[in-house]
Symmetry: C2
Subunit: 211 residues, 2 copies
């Protein structure tokens, strides 16, 4: 099936459905209506049905969705049954935390190495993963068939690292540096500082949680 025209907004909601359905499955819930699911996620029912219709729809009108089936479908759509190898460029606090955080492996992502320019870090390991010199980046990505390049380096190095990773063959970039990197492959940015700044703005202007 071809989902290429699915909008960014729909794509962004899919992991939220996935999380909510995991909770429901763990609670032993077998069926759920679009209305109930919408309510739990602060969406409306027609939105939920429209979202699922982008992928062919998974329910029968009036019967609701089977939680386990729906979870399986979403897992397929999100390619969570595939595995992806990743490397981290930047072995500072955030890079080390990501490499130590085994939670991502549940979703098929395994970090196999970190890279840094700092000679004191090169040769050490983080959670059993080696810290290698950044000059080895391209060679390692090619030889180990790395799919995801994670950037946790400083802002000024981010774009160059992204370019090098793409050149070496990564298929996606996960960027934590406080700048927007561009690439011919998909890029996801986690801008923690931007988020914190938005929080401060909302706090100072007395805005409630409107998500």
């Amino acid at each position: 099936m071809e989902f290429r025209r699915v909008s960014e907004a729909v794509i962004r909601r899919m992991p939220r459905y996935y999380r909510q359905l995991q909770v429901l499955q763990a609670q032993g819930v077998e069926r759920i209506s679009s209305g109930k699911l919408a309510q739990m996620m602060r969406l409306n029912a027609s939105q939920v049905r429209q979202d699922f219709n982008c992928f062919g729809g998974f329910g029968q009108q009036g019967y609701g969705y089977n939680v386990t089936t729906l979870l399986g479908e979403i897992k397929n759509i999100l390619a969570l049954n595939k595995s992806h190898k990743a490397v981290v460029a930047g072995a500072g606090n955030i890079g080390r935390a990501l490499a130590s955080f085994d939670h991502f492996e549940q979703h098929g992502f395994s970090i196999t190495a970190l890279f840094d320019v700092n000679e004191e870090l090169v040769g050490t390991d983080v959670n059993g993963k080696p810290v290698l010199h950044i000059s080895k980046l391209e060679e390692y990505v090619k030889e180990n068939n790395i799919a995801v390049g994670i950037i946790t380096a400083r802002r000024s190095a981010a774009q160059e690292l992204a370019d090098r990773m793409v050149q070496a063959g990564v298929k996606g970039i996960w960027n934590f540096a406080p700048t927007d990197v561009t690439a011919p492959v998909p890029v996801e940015n986690i801008h923690m500082t931007d988020s914190l700044i938005c929080l401060a703005y909302k706090m100072c202007h007395n805005m409630g949680d409107d998500e």
Copy 2:
């Protein structure tokens, strides 16, 4: 001035303007047109002008913006000249990385303590900040006038921690747990796993970077 009706989308672009203007200032650029700024940020010029008009506008038609003045205005709007004390609930990898990452202090945020249930962590410190037992959370928040509660605990504990933090007086929640917490104060969620899952989806469906 009252900005309460500024949309979420505009608020989210403000930190991006702030970052871009910092780069321009560092490069010694004195004036910038809305068209040029838009191009750098992959927006369009009328969007940039509209965004700034939400706050009263900062330029004269045809003259462009003075970079330093604009940066100062945005800094005021974003309340980056204020300081905010924060605590972290959950002294695991992510919590420890945040407490070690001094970058947030540049934006007025200082983490003063971490909290955990793990007796082996309680009594240690991270980057000079004490790890206290979670039972001390409310007392500490009240006594130290903590404005921001950062949640880096597991999913099942997140909502209860948010409730306790709000009860004790925090004015905003920065949530890293993989669930959506709700609160009567502003909440910003950093859903790293959701972002990674979206990246995998785009990689598997050959979607280029369309941000």
